[in-house]
Symmetry: C2
Subunit: 405 residues, 2 copies
């Protein structure tokens, strides 16, 4: 089997970095290296921007030991970009591909990236230019449709779970009210990972707020008050993307109230990460409600969630590598384009398969956390979510309390 | 050798939790368990508060496997307290000791805790009551005198170094200006750990601000501007405790400017942690200086620095365990009180010894980062600091760039 198509390959890494996107890069490169049909393997420096600027890094001669080191390095080794290519931008990409005889295109990213892949692919088809374009899934948000989960999510979830286990123990030792703000604009998958280490009812997080349901600051304060009265402490997980009943992000409303310039990216998204404002606002709301002497603290986990040395999930690393390999295999195998989807085939033992799906199936769609994982009060995540999450995060180090404390 | 003193032992864990304070607890317990002179080993629930409330947890019968699990668990398994005992409080502690025939007292904590230990010890001496009181060093701030470094610091430094390595790679991939605020009220040891993963001049953090030198917001913006023009990006490490030339913490000035109630603890310290305000303020200062469209982000590492599952330094774990053991050994060996100090005996190979020092030598004193590690411009840490730090943090996972990028 195999296709007759010969030429150069381009690989790009798009969107926010993750702990394991370099595993996908290396997986893709190591399969392409073995093919006689691929001449140069061109890494696009800073994603689509590198393509239109013809800023390429040749990867075909990198020895395996260098590749292995890159694979375990967090963040995007090729660099990323915030550009959201429109039709004209995608046309430029296609022109560069024609010029450089690029016949294989691999783009690792989220749903916007799969859409870029789709548009470039259509340009090629319209021009009768044979191109095998593949999207490699990547997002800590875990919000790609047709996937059980996405490379990058398991490691970010491992960070969130590990940090919450530590912070719950910290909050046990020095009781008070503590808010942790977790990444996640539209989907609460990552915030929900906060519950993974809960062992009993006294363990936090005691409250979890995700963007799948509307957030009401007054109800929030009442929730915190009830837990604080019960346990003498309260640990809270909040998605950065929480919004009111009309869908306005609390973080954006807040910035506008304070007269701050509200930053938006090329996708029109309001800046949520890289600021402690939402956490501080929620802490102040609780102090206003419970009295200013109440000990309330807020941390915002920030970018460390997506790129911290030493906290990658081993399962996530393996799967990201395999997703990269599978994209390369499929692209070489025949007249294919598409996206590689990770689908779970068994829970016990945990197994997955890597399936080719159509680019149009995944592009620009968002998969949110199913409501079945959210409690009736919309302020917590049910333990059934752990069954889904645990195998993706991988085994955590053991920890325990003194019996009777 | 050995003392004839017989009775019960009390162990407490004071101040902020760390990744390894439970190693010290377990080290102390496992040595005491072996002694015929020690009957009960009483864990004080929530430190000094547990003592005066006679809220004890008996530890002498805990099996070794339970102890081993507790040892690797972050935070303070016995619970901590924010109380700062005054003379009267220490008197109550002593009365409880008399009532329960407590003859061995172990208190793990920072310089305030060693002072508590010292005062209780003096009460006992004044009353002619034989007590062997030992302070076990613990602080992520690394600011105890007579110590090369303190248990807890190596693991917190490992977190900070790992997070900065990830964030530098993230900032390489998506360039911009990024501020990370690190714990440290009076001492910059932990913030300085941000540089451990720097490999070349292009690597961040490009600027580091510690409380050992005065902070000037205008100079700060000029520094950032210069780096940003040179590298197209700028990664900055800032201690939460930075202060102006008069010694006023920037965080406290800021809170007062904004009309917020400024929280102070029992020690009179202004709240620094558990808020993103300082980072957000500095980000805004840069935007005001460089233009509001400049991409500036700020994260505050928060409590995860001192208690995150899975990121403890193996060296720190070993040393914290041994400090606990040594305190117990010394207390059993003769008519001793004191504090256990970790002193480096060789750099290569790295070796330390555990020495008994007088409580008065360590109590209520602060050891700041030597100025020899700070550059002439007071905005960076010199690479010589890595020689000091690396063995304490332990070997980090490998990481690397694509050659030529």
């Amino acid at each position: 089997m195999g296709s007759d198509l010969k030429g150069n390959a381009v690989i790009g890494q798009s969107g926010g970095p993750t702990h394991v996107i370099n595993q996908s890069l290396v997986g893709c490169v190591e399969v392409l290296k073995e093919s006689a049909n691929v001449e140069k393997i061109l890494g696009a420096h800073h994603a689509v921007r590198g393509i239109i600027n013809e800023d390429f890094i040749e990867l075909q001669d990198l020895p395996q030991d260098v590749l292995e080191t890159i694979a375990v390095t967090p963040s995007s080794a090729l660099g990323s970009s915030r550009d959201k290519p429109d039709d004209e931008y995608c046309n430029k990409i296609f022109q560069v591909f024609e010029k450089h005889n690029v016949r294989f295109f691999f783009y690792a990213g989220g749903n916007d990236s799969s859409d870029t892949c789709r548009i470039v692919n259509e340009k090629a088809k319209q021009a009768g230019y044979e191109l095998h374009a593949f999207h490699i899934p990547k997002t800590i948000d875990n919000d790609l449709v047709c996937n059980d989960h996405t490379p990058g999510f398991g490691s970010a979830a491992r960070f969130v779970a590990s940090a919450f286990i530590g912070d719950n123990l910290d909050n046990r030792a020095l009781p008070g009210i503590k808010i942790n703000v977790v990444m996640g604009r539209h989907a609460g998958w990552l915030t929900a990972a906060a519950i993974l280490g809960r062992k009993d009812e006294n363990d936090g997080p005691h409250l979890v707020y995700v963007p799948e349901v509307a957030f009401d600051p007054v109800k929030f304060c009442q929730d915190v008050d009830a837990i604080y009265q019960k346990h003498g402490r309260c640990l809270i997980a909040v998605s950065e993307g929480i919004h009111d009943a009309e869908g306005n992000p609390i973080a954006a409303k807040l910035a506008e109230q304070q007269g701050h310039h509200v930053e938006r990216d090329a996708h029109g998204n309001v800046q949520l990460s890289g600021s402690g404002a939402l956490g501080d606002f929620l802490a102040q709301e609780i102090k206003n409600y419970l009295g200013k002497k109440t000990r309330v603290r807020a941390d915002t986990f920030g970018y460390t969630q997506r790129a911290c040395l030493g906290l990658a999930s081993p399962v996530d690393q393996t799967e990201a590598r395999e997703a990269g390999r599978e994209a390369a295999r499929q692209a070489l195998a025949g007249d294919f384009d598409g996206s590689i989807a990770i689908q779970r085939t068994s829970d016990n033992p945990y197994t997955v398969e890597y399936k080719r799906i159509e680019l149009t199936d995944v592009a620009a769609k968002t998969r949110t956390l199913p409501l079945e994982y959210i409690n009736d009060e919309n302020n917590n995540i049910l333990d059934s979510y752990k069954d889904y999450l645990a195998p993706i995060v991988g085994e955590l180090p053991e920890f325990g309390f003194i019996p009777g404390t």
